[in-house]
């Protein structure tokens, strides 16, 4: 995992973001990332689970038990404290970027018409 001052990889960021809205299984994470990014970010099962594996190893997310009536093959994941902190750092970094770009009058971009 990158140190907290480094930008997160897109897949890491979107998975953490998706889990910030509640516990989810793999496919629900995939759908949520698509929705949160307005369809700008999409990933396949291999990217999803490679990243989930890395996040579990770093204890940024944790596996939790799902609903009893759900598909037993599914596993559910929850954002852990370390993951929440990493996500907040990333949000702060983005907020700072937007603030600086506004101060430099680079944002919002002027349309050339």
């Amino acid at each position: 995992m990158p140190p907290s001052d480094q930008p997160l990889q897109p897949a890491t960021f979107w998975i953490l973001f998706a889990l910030a809205t509640g516990d989810k299984h793999g496919y629900a994470i995939m759908r949520e990332t698509r929705q949160l990014s307005d369809g700008q970010f999409e990933m396949g099962p291999a990217t999803l689970y490679t990243t989930i594996q890395r996040l579990l190893d770093s204890a940024w997310i944790e596996e939790v038990s799902g609903p009893n009536d759900g598909d037993q093959r599914r596993r559910y994941y929850r954002l852990a404290k370390a993951g929440k902190s990493a996500l907040q750092s990333e949000m702060k970094r983005m907020e700072s970027l937007v603030r600086k770009s506004k101060a430099l009058r680079l944002w919002p971009m002027e349309s050339k018409s």
Binding site: G26, Y27, M30, E42, M43, G44, P45, A46, T47, L48, Y49, T50, I52, Q53, D71, R73, R74, R75
Partner: protein, 133 residues
């Protein structure tokens, strides 16, 4: 059928990923295909193949048994991709496109079949000493 083919591809991903998440990967792929419908199936498959080249092929190249067919596959996949783009750009007719792609498609299937056959074979089998023989 699509899920079964994807299941075969999952066999080439790193062992720990396959062991811990292989079943879920196939399940997610299946659900994605179902929700995407016929029109979205091409997009889902394209992404799965890009991921295969990006994540599974390097793992195969690292395995000495699979190295040669994996490099062949990467080369043929690149060649086939280029052919497709060129043919599409030239507005080729469907029949011509199929005939032109047939040899390249075959050259992708052969190394893939070799890789699949060798995927779980340990290297030591290829280097048996005289006494072991």
């Amino acid at each position: 059928m699509s899920a079964r083919i994807y299941g075969w591809l999952v066999d080439f991903y790193p062992e720990d990923l396959r062991r811990d998440f292989g079943e879920e990967m196939v399940l997610v792929f299946e659900e994605e295909l179902r929700d995407a419908g016929l029109a979205g199936a091409v997009r889902v498959w394209r992404r799965a193949l890009v991921e295969f080249v990006r994540l599974a092929l390097p793992n195969c190249v690292a395995n000495p048994v699979l190295r040669v067919p994996a490099i062949m596959l990467a080369f043929c996949a690149f060649s086939m991709g280029t052919d497709l783009v060129l043919l599409y750009a030239k507005g080729a007719r469907a029949r011509f496109t199929f005939v032109a792609l047939l040899p390249t498609l075959t050259s992708v299937i052969i190394p893939l079949a070799v890789m699949w056959a060798c995927r779980s074979r340990p290297l030591t089998k290829l280097h048996l000493t005289d006494t072991e023989r």
